[in-house]
Symmetry: C2
Subunit: 407 residues, 2 copies
């Protein structure tokens, strides 16, 4: 039998992947599982945009231009203008989800063995896209004690080598919910300018900023026009994860040309979904306003409940719909599995993402989890009830495990 490739055997997997069979088993056994492990919100996709898909009068569902429909890109220019970002349609390549934008960016800017600096914990799938492009991630560790604030630029500067081609951040952050300010971006921008590095910013949670924080896009950094590459997506913004429409945005002509070639290779982004995406831009801001308010309330629920749990370390996240929490236990991975396998509270349990998989540095995040607050407040309260009882119950489990010599 021909054997598969080494890379095929070693594709990095999501931090909660090992837990999926346990979740399936729990559900098969009739247990309700509150899924706080994945960024799939329960928020409805805008009816207006779905309606436009229903009203389509297509006769031939043909390839769209490789870089996406011009009409859509023109409307995106208007959308970005609301964030004081000045663009032309040529600065935008429509991609198959944000995932493809990450891939195009990495292939266009990195050769085999090149390095990218990423603050950790980070979105775990960056590992897989880096593997495809054979580039190496150099992590900069952030700390839960200060809400995973961006480390000082000196920390970034210290790991720059002659292989370093860029810095990659997510703002607001998945998995930490950390919000990076204009000042943070300006500092990173200055460093990128000094060392001739690309600054990649995944801004797919742009709308979801709280406590009056104003989002500042890296595309606004002056003098960094050739350095900044933004990854975007409608998945979270319009709760349309299944549409698979994202965008790569940059003013760097070389990157645009290279990414366009990669785009041509796969012919076109999804056609039906571009109808939906374009329609979202004909809507007023009320949908996004309501959605942001809903996430804000959910954020408060999770924060308040975590604060009341003894020994739990967390913080009030500034954006996105995630937070990290540190639990008073040894192995969050074991705890998360135990939650699904053995725990039940009022017929339910909760699924979380163990924190370790979001770190590149071995050994970090073992007592941490990521919580995605993507359920309505009532369900979130119930999920937090489960978590509270579970943490209390688990103490005895852990004590018993430690008392039992490993066989």
């Amino acid at each position: 039998m021909p054997s598969i490739s080494s890379r095929g055997k070693n594709v990095p997997m999501s931090p909660f992947r090992k837990l999926v069979p346990f979740a399936d088993k729990a559900k098969d056994a009739g247990k309700h599982v509150y899924h706080l492990n994945i960024g799939q919100p329960d928020i409805e996709t805008p009816l207006y945009a779905l309606q436009k898909v229903r009203e389509n009068q297509l006769k031939v569902l043909a390839y769209s231009p490789a870089v996406g429909q011009l009409s859509y890109r023109k409307k995106l220019v208007e959308y970005y203008r609301k964030f004081e970002i000045a663009l032309t349609p040529d600065d935008i390549i429509v991609t198959t989800g944000g995932s493809e934008a990450i891939q195009f960016a990495m292939l266009s800017c990195f050769d085999i063995g090149d390095e990218v600096i990423v603050p950790e914990p980070f979105y775990a799938n960056y590992n897989g896209f880096a593997q495809i492009g054979s580039l190496n991630i150099r992590p900069i560790t952030c700390d839960i004690e200060d809400g995973f604030a961006l480390p000082p630029v000196e920390a970034f500067e210290a790991v720059i080598t002659d292989k370093t081609r860029g810095i990659f951040i997510t703002n607001p952050n998945n998995p930490t919910g950390c919000f990076y300010s204009r000042e943070d971006l300006t500092q990173l921008g200055r460093l990128c300018k000094a060392y001739d590095l690309f600054l990649f910013v995944d801004e797919v949670y742009r709308e979801f900023c709280y406590d009056g924080k104003e989002f500042y896009s890296a595309l606004r950094l002056e003098g960094l026009e050739d350095h900044v590459i933004v990854v975007d997506s409608i998945s979270k913004r319009y709760s349309a994860c299944g549409a698979r429409i994202g965008a790569l945005v940059t003013r760097n002509q070389g990157v645009l040309e290279a990414a366009t070639r990669y785009a041509k290779l796969r012919l076109s982004p999804p056609g039906l979904a571009q109808i939906l995406a374009e329609a979202t831009l004909d809507m007023d801001d009320s949908y996004l306003g309501q959605v942001t308010e809903a996430y804000d309330r959910r954020r408060q629920v999770v924060y308040n409940r975590l604060q009341a749990m003894p020994g739990v370390v967390s913080y009030l996240p500034g954006g996105a719909f995630y937070c990290f929490a540190k639990f008073p236990l040894r192995s969050a991975e074991h705890f998360c599995q135990w939650l699904l396998e053995f725990f039940e509270h009022e017929g339910a349990t909760v699924m979380l993402s163990p924190g370790e998989g979001f770190y590149a540095t071995p050994g970090l995040g073992r007592d941490e989890v990521r919580i995605a607050y993507i359920l309505n407040e009532q369900d979130l309260e119930k999920a937090m009830d489960c978590l509270e009882v579970a943490l209390e119950t688990y103490k005895a489990v852990e004590a018993a495990m430690e008392a039992t010599p490993a066989s």
Copy 2:
């Protein structure tokens, strides 16, 4: 300014890409351009399937499973059964177009520097996917004089090295329209078995076989269950190129596991398009029957017209909707550009793909073109009128060029 990657600068481009600005200019000048350069048919997407998209009652357009909706994969099992292919839904990974299936297959089976044998001329985008995976294509040259029939297995055997991991063919073939028989596949299968190679077959034109030829899928080869990987797509079958729904089909568990990991990385294939794809499988066979008959008539038009053109070498293609033709001139690329830039017949001209870009061996195909017969018969006749007059007119152009000393 940070510079882009070497690979980003060198992404292989489509054979007709340089001609696009000339086509645009011709159209701007009011010339009608018959596009026979690209596989975007004018055939209507099945109304029944489009209607199912219109009737969708989705509230949240959520991620589908990474490997595609189970309901769709179950129906695909029935579809493949019509071709005497026995599968389970677990043997099928739904991809974002056939393009992504090619990419998943290459990443799962090849490491950097590994080699794949491909008969040339071949679908030029294989070059780009090979570049992403850093694998090398070893071409086996086919000959227009025998309709690009598959060379004897000895020719394949002769280029096998310790880096060779597989053979990749397209059946029926794009760009040649060549149909590979059960005997062809059996021979290749035997070779793959003997040398422990994967046999990749891109079968996206499976339905379009003519003259009573019966399609034989590589998935039917006995004893080759762990070797065969099939790339599929609904783009051509249902004239739904813009849907971006394909599939990777194999019974090799290792490949399925690796490809599933790559699938999870990009989260899910397009959701709306899966509704369309699934609906096509609830239709009876009349749509595909009519479409195949339409292509068959178009095929005859192109073949008959080419046969009547002095000095042109072509053949009756056995499948797909492409053929190659050899012209009595030095540079098909110059001729194709001249067609757009300077030629006009009754207000129109024709766009073809220069043949050279479909070969990996330097220097081959310079007097050849690919013709995609994706227009209706009336338009095809007019396009062939253009071509006939153009070939006649071009003689003097070429003679004049040769008489003029290069400045």
